[in-house]
Amino acid sequence: MHRLVLPGAWRCFSVCSRTALQFEMLCLLYAMIVTLSLSGAAINPGMLPAATTICCALSAICMSVVGDGCYALMRTLRDTQCPGWRNVVLKAVGMASLCLLVLPMTLMIAINHSLSAALYVAIAGMTGLLLVLLRRSLHSTSTDTLLWRSLLIIAPLLMVIVVVRELAQVTIVLSLLLLLLIAVACRNASCLLSRQPERWLATSEHNHPTHRPANINYSFRHIKPGVIPTMRVFLGKPYAPVTGKKRLQQLALLIAILVMPSVVLFIGDSDHSSAGFLKAWRLTAPLVTCLIAIVIWIIFMYRAHAAMLSGGLQLSELALLPHLGSSRKQLGGLLYAWFGAPTLIVIALMLLGQLSAPKQTRQFSLGLWACIAMFLLLSISQTLVGMLTRTSRKSAETPSPPKAGLWETVIAPAWISLWLCFVTFSSVQYGPFSGNHFLRWFSPGLCLAFLLLGAIHIYRLARRPHPFVETER
């Protein structure tokens, strides 16, 4: 389990957070999600199970990250060699920090989220974080970085105050936010020890359990030149054909991530019977499946985007490879490889989540899936537009491709985010397919519009000499 969950969580974070600051921003985002969901629960008690699920899922991730950070710390302590007494002091301080970080975790789970354990975690986490921030602020010259880090401390505190006023679930909120702080502190300490201010220690491939040993998972000699396998290889790692063993590992990782929040909830619950686990599963599964579906979709699209639309010349090489058939076949293969696997996974997760949801939350779950479907359709449409308007890469030798305008960078994402939030919360109140006519027709209408747009883009791509040709915008 350790070897599956920790690398999984690390990957999940490392995809989104290349630098320490990005990692902290991600934590802040998680804290905001928690606060929002708990505030929602305060307004509407029907949302409480959903809010608890989100908290559990996030605490599971945080715990994995903390564990991962501890692992990195241990590795560093083992490998660090400073001259003379500094080595001893460094290792002693490191081990003490490690104990300070690991013990509260164990205690907190053992005492079942009691306030005293949470306070212990608070002291440890805050101390670690403040020490690291103090140390780093002395060396940091970037005002922006300091500003963001200050926000990172202030924002969760403000959120705690808000939630405490609104809700009785103080312990959960507090422990969760402190988990986040510990995760950040752990990561920062790791950066500090590795003497790479903006690098996550575990990003060194030889210093992490996710380091892939040679000659295990990938083999390409067996792949026959065909349009779909080729497209999958060119699209990047998540798409690439792998051996059965690797596929089983991925499936096990997915199951582990799915089950993890239920396990956390089960441990924290007083009912330790099979019925208690089933209850925990029913409570967590709908939201966890939603979160996983979004993360999986983003991972796939991120890789595909990097491979296909980044302005690089990767498509060109694909265009010159023989044995890929006619242009129609190439386009079909590309679209199948690009969207097929992620769509199937998302549908499977949706079914699983929907079937697991208790009857009283099914409507909420359905509303959430409607939002996710809209988001996915929009992203398909956007990537197709990106492919249609692909021009030569930006370099000194060719004129710069047109820069993304205000619409693409600010207005569209802001509008979409607002809309998604609106629909989500409205669907909680009314249900997406119930009395409210606006919600009943607008969401499916928008989905249909995105589908139509996607079809038009595909038609335009199909009319080209080959799908990978660059054209003028």
Binding site: P322, T391, H466
Partner: protein
């Protein structure tokens, strides 16, 4: 001058592995290529030279059917480049300036994978050259330096045993030793296997060392497209004294550039037009004719 050179180009053998006619291309209203005609004779090593932003990469991409021209058409092995068949694709190899594809793969895996597409893939050559280059086949492509990546891309292209090898600034990221090896390999391929090579560069010394033909691209127009020997024979620099210069009225036929010195004398770069002799001023007893190096010519034309 441009018309004369263009007509000379169009008289060349149109059965060449790559040729294009009247290519126009613009990006957002900025013209990048304007009426480009190019033929590459079979077995030639054509160096495409031009300043940054001259349109070399764009021209290469159009020639290979990777980019759609605004007007005109490119042909590869007699087929329209945009609609190339598998038969033609197996006969050509292309090395982009920044080989980004398949960065997540290890070198060995990538070579294994790519090799399955080409019937004439020389696996032994690929492995041996990789070993000679000191690159481990277990290394991930994305983690290589730009120079190493370019070397891997070159190995991949040469292992295909192509009849047409297209290289977009192949030496830009290479160290001097690797660059020398690359040029030697290009010369060897062209000499022994009759491979037609098209490579773009702005390093004139590379071009002089290996190219049999040269094409100058300047501000989206092809100024010259001729063999290296012809180019040297048909272009000279003439130093004309002030007294003689005073008798010159207007632009001379085939004159590419003129620079005056403070004493009134001038230095002119002249191109000899087909079936004509040098202009009379160059044959004056007080005028001094110098052979023009490729770099000098490039600078004179483009400045």
């Amino acid at each position: 001058m441009q018309a004369a050179l263009s007509s000379r180009t169009s008289q060349q053998d149109t059965d060449s592995p790559v040729h294009c006619r009247d290519i126009y291309k613009s990006y957002d209203g900025i013209t990048v290529l304007s009426g480009v005609n190019l033929d590459i004779p079979t077995g030639a090593v054509l160096g495409l030279i031009g300043r940054n932003g001259a349109g070399k990469s764009t021209l290469i991409r159009i020639l290979l059917g990777l980019s759609m021209p605004g007007r005109g058409e490119a042909y590869v092995f007699g087929e329209r480049a945009l609609y190339m068949t598998d038969a033609s694709k197996t006969r050509l190899a292309f090395v982009p300036q920044q080989p980004d594809a398949l960065g997540w793969m290890r070198i060995g895996d990538m070579l294994d994978f790519i090799g399955t597409f080409y019937p004439r893939w020389d696996d032994e050559y690929a492995r041996n050259t990789l070993l000679r280059s000191g690159l481990s086949s277990d290394k991930q492509l994305a983690k290589l330096s730009p120079g190493e990546r370019q070397r891997v891309a070159l190995i991949r292209a040469l292992a295909v045993n192509p009849e047409l090898l297209v290289l977009d600034e192949p030496a830009s990221a290479l160290d001097p030793v690797a660059r020398r090896e690359l040029l030697r390999e290009i010369a060897l391929r062209a000499g022994e296997s009759g491979t037609t090579v098209l490579f773009s560069t702005h390093i004139v010394s590379d071009l002089e060392r290996v190219a049999s033909h040269v094409a100058f691209l300047h501000q989206g127009r092809l100024l010259f497209n001729t063999s290296m020997d012809d180019l040297k024979e048909t272009h000279i620099r003439v130093h004309v004294p002030a007294a003689t210069m005073q008798r010159v009225e207007g632009k001379l036929p085939g004159e590419l550039s003129r620079r005056y010195r403070h004493d009134g004398s001038a230095s002119l770069v002249l191109a000899r037009l087909p079936d004509t002799d040098w202009p009379e001023i160059a044959r004056q007893p007080d005028a001094r004719m110098d052979v023009l190096g490729l770099e000098d010519l490039f600078v004179e034309v483009t400045e």
